[in-house]
Symmetry: none
Subunit: 223 residues, 2 copies
Amino acid sequence: MTILIAEDDPLTLEALATCMESEGFTTLRAQDGKQAVDLWRTEKPDLLCLDIMMPHIDGYEVCRRVRASDRTVPILFLSAKNQEIDVVVGLDLGADDFIRKPFTRSEVMARIRAALRRTAPQDKRDHFTIANLTVHPRALIAQRDSQTIELTPREVSILQLLHDHRGEAVSRDAFLDTCWGLNYFPDSRTLDQHIFLLRKKIEADPADPKIIQTVRAIGYRYA
Amino acid sequence: MTILIAEDDPLTLEALATCMESEGFTTLRAQDGKQAVDLWRTEKPDLLCLDIMMPHIDGYEVCRRVRASDRTVPILFLSAKNQEIDVVVGLDLGADDFIRKPFTRSEVMARIRAALRRTAPQDKRDHFTIANLTVHPRALIAQRDSQTIELTPREVSILQLLHDHRGEAVSRDAFLDTCWGLNYFPDSRTLDQHIFLLRKKIEADPADPKIIQTVRAIGYRYA
DNA sequence: CAAATTTTGACAATCCTTTGACACTTCATG
DNA sequence: CATGAAGTGTCAAAGGATTGTCAAAATTTG
């Protein structure tokens, strides 16, 4: 279990990290919002602990960017005390919990365990269904009726993201964030090409796609 | 949505219930733990708000009994301040959140909404209703009955503005300001054209529009 | 190295938006 | 009531932006 901690005060950061590591978690440390987003993209931690006030990108914005492509990873906010309005904003952004400073070690750990427990039960399935396709991510295959379709890792990742956001349009940026690592910036036809190949594999009529629909100016959608 | 409130102090109980009802929830009121358990068994509320200190059966015990047969219903604890150890015990019992007294109305409601959102991911507030149409801005679609209507970003933006100002006429300038850029200055039929196309998509009889009405010399209105 | 996978660039196809022309409606005025 | 001005509806077509498609190159994998 890996926990990302974003906190600009080195002392608090160190204290939090030590506390979590002594409970058996692996920690990733970020001192500002940009580091946090980068670390999240590359390391995919199981939980995020975000300070609100940070240089460059604040905790709210980090939360917003993460939630754009991952709706489930638990996000906890740390805040200075008596910032009640922050609670409302943070929770409505999709945060899972809110810890006011000064906090105690046992409170932080209790809230982290609670947040992890809430999301844990879902992770048991090693496959998911999209349209009439059963996708097995680890095996890199999808099955329809008795037919087996081979998939590449990137294709599985794309299908997974569409499945996790079924019913809503997934932006091109969200694809690049999640399925690639937005470290480099393809203004090319990379995503389109992958969608194109994927459609040829899974759509009955690739020219009239029913599973992966394009949402112009946004991205793609599975509904 | 029904919320069970267990609280032995009548004044606090009443205040909480009033607050929730004003936000559209139905409330069930219990003044001790036994009432709470009984009410939960018979009414199956969608969320529980439990005071810790209560006669006969305390909040922890109520939580334990409920969790014995329902692992998912959100449970929030209310506690007197400075009972930090309570947080740890409560969360480890399977509670979802913890609200310290004194609490504010907006904090309580934000935490309740957040808890409900976690268990009902479908109930996202990312859509609005206009006439008999449900508009999903992020998906760029609107739904009427079982019919799905695709929308463009600009059309969604127009509908959003009309919805936000329902009942009043929205000026052409307001449309250009909000849906286009401020310094944009089309002296042309741009807005009319978009309204025209939008009506063709959403009105039963585009020639006799019921949803988007024209307010001559001003702009348009949705009532 | 060979095969599979990913990325790129060019071009075509498609969709959204804007524009201009014109018909129609409404309103104020004579 | 007739008339003209102003505002709006409608259409076809142009223009711009986005996406689909293909072939080929680059990269990774075994």
